[in-house]
């Protein structure tokens, strides 16, 4: 019973932590640490919620979730004969078992579906790019999309492609373009698409959950900030900031739904490029790293813990 209670508390703890982290502002001063923390919270929440249900359901086996699952399926295969439990399951445990397995299957299915859908969308995007985009000797290695709107993005993957629209080329000065390309290059190198994928998947699966929406939005912003930080090593942060503002003020393109507050995010990025905040105190940074390590380890430990 201890494992079930601990897992349930851990799951609630993760929700509280996510809620706190979504409104925290120290994260902007250390985006990489914050991203790591978000990832461990997400993973732990999934394992703890399913684990709590399963630990309760499989408690009669008395050997923890992993062992219990093993025994359960063993006895299911041998049709309840042999090494199964003698006492029949009561209703609440059966419900918990079904709920736990269903939640686990749902989380995995959502992730797999998101990966598949993302890969398919990218493949089509690449194909269309190869048909319509052109190359410019002035900006080597970049695909140019003949469209008056301003945009710059990358199609991540093993062979990542950076794309800039003709509108964006007109909008930006040479230094600003270099800054934008450095930013996109950071996305490519650090594989930020993989960081975003599980959060985007969860948001699509449960769009009404506010906490999931906030989590996805924070991670998306943090990823941009991490890319800004990497880009500023190779270019002038000021030019990156003016490039950001120019994109925002370019206009002429419709605004995506749910982009309210996008300007706030742009201003937050601009402000930290112009006036970078002091680095977080060392104990705090190490504390957060330790917290994320403990979180990540805790749920798997509780899965194998007997009782």
């Amino acid at each position: 019973m201890i494992a079930a209670v601990a897992l349930a508390l851990l799951s609630i703890g993760c929700v509280v932590a996510a809620w706190r982290l979504a409104s925290a502002r120290w994260t902007w001063r250390a985006p990489r640490i914050a991203i790591l923390l978000w990832q461990s919270i997400g993973l732990t929440w999934g394992l703890a919620s399913t684990g709590a249900l399963l630990a309760y359901a499989l408690q009669p086996y008395g050997q923890g979730v992993v062992y219990g699952l093993h025994r359960y399926f063993d006895s299911a295969i041998s049709l309840g004969l042999g090494r199964g439990l003698r006492t029949p399951y009561d209703l609440s445990r059966s419900v918990a078992f079904v709920a736990g397995v269903a939640l686990l299957a749902l989380l995995i299915a959502v992730l797999v579906a998101a990966i598949w859908q993302t890969l398919r969308a990218r493949r089509r995007h690449r194909m269309l790019l190869s048909l319509t985009a052109r190359e410019d000797p002035h900006v080597p290695g970049v695909r140019i999309l003949d469209h008056p709107g301003a945009t710059a993005y990358c199609v991540p993957g093993l062979r990542a492609e950076v794309v800039v629209s003709a509108g964006a080329l007109r909008l930006l000065s040479k230094d600003e373009l270099a800054a934008v390309l450095a930013h996109e290059d950071a996305h490519v190198r650090e594989r930020h698409d993989l960081v975003l994928l599980p959060f985007a998947a969860l948001r699509r699966a449960i769009p009404w959950a506010r906490i999931v929406r906030d989590a996805q939005a924070s991670v998306a912003l943090l990823v941009e900030m991490a890319a800004d930080d990497r880009a500023r090593r190779h270019c002038s942060p000021r030019r990156l900031a003016t490039a950001l503002l120019r994109f925002g003020t370019a206009g002429g393109v419709p605004t995506p739904q749910g982009a309210i507050g996008a300007a706030g995010h742009v201003m937050a990025r601009v402000n930290r490029l112009i006036q970078p905040g002091a680095e977080l105190p060392r104990p705090f940074r190490y504390g957060m790293l330790a917290l994320s390590a403990v979180l990540t380890v805790s749920a798997p430990c509780l899965w194998v813990m007997p009782h």
Binding site: T242, L245, G248, T249, T255, A259, V266
Partner: protein
């Protein structure tokens, strides 16, 4: 594809091959490429005697527009397929950014 878009009429593989002047491609190569593009849904073909005539399904601009929609995250599916440099903002909010840009440029 560019040639088919530029011509605006349905062409046979032989005609496409002739128009690709900068590279000397075997007719079978051209045919394979056209066939693959057809199977992927970018071209349609109609019988013309013993040959096929190929025609683009949609205009080049339509595809560019589709790419742009995805690039600006306007498709509404919120996938993590692309990583974008900056999001578009609404007109009211753009005013705030315009002021900030002026300030930065004056300094």
């Amino acid at each position: 594809m560019d040639i088919l878009w530029a011509q605006g009429t349905a062409l046979t593989a032989r005609e496409v091959g002739k128009l690709i002047s900068d590279r000397d491609l075997a007719p079978t190569t051209v045919m394979t490429v056209l066939d693959r593009l057809t199977r992927k849904g970018f071209l349609t073909r109609t019988r013309d005697g013993r040959a096929w005539r190929y025609q683009p399904v949609r205009s080049r601009d339509a595809y560019v527009a589709e790419l742009m929609l995805e690039a600006l995250d306007l498709t509404g599916d919120r996938s993590a397929a692309l990583t974008r440099f900056a999001q578009a903002v609404s007109d009211d909010e753009a005013e705030i950014l315009r002021k900030a840009l002026l300030e930065l440029e004056e300094e």
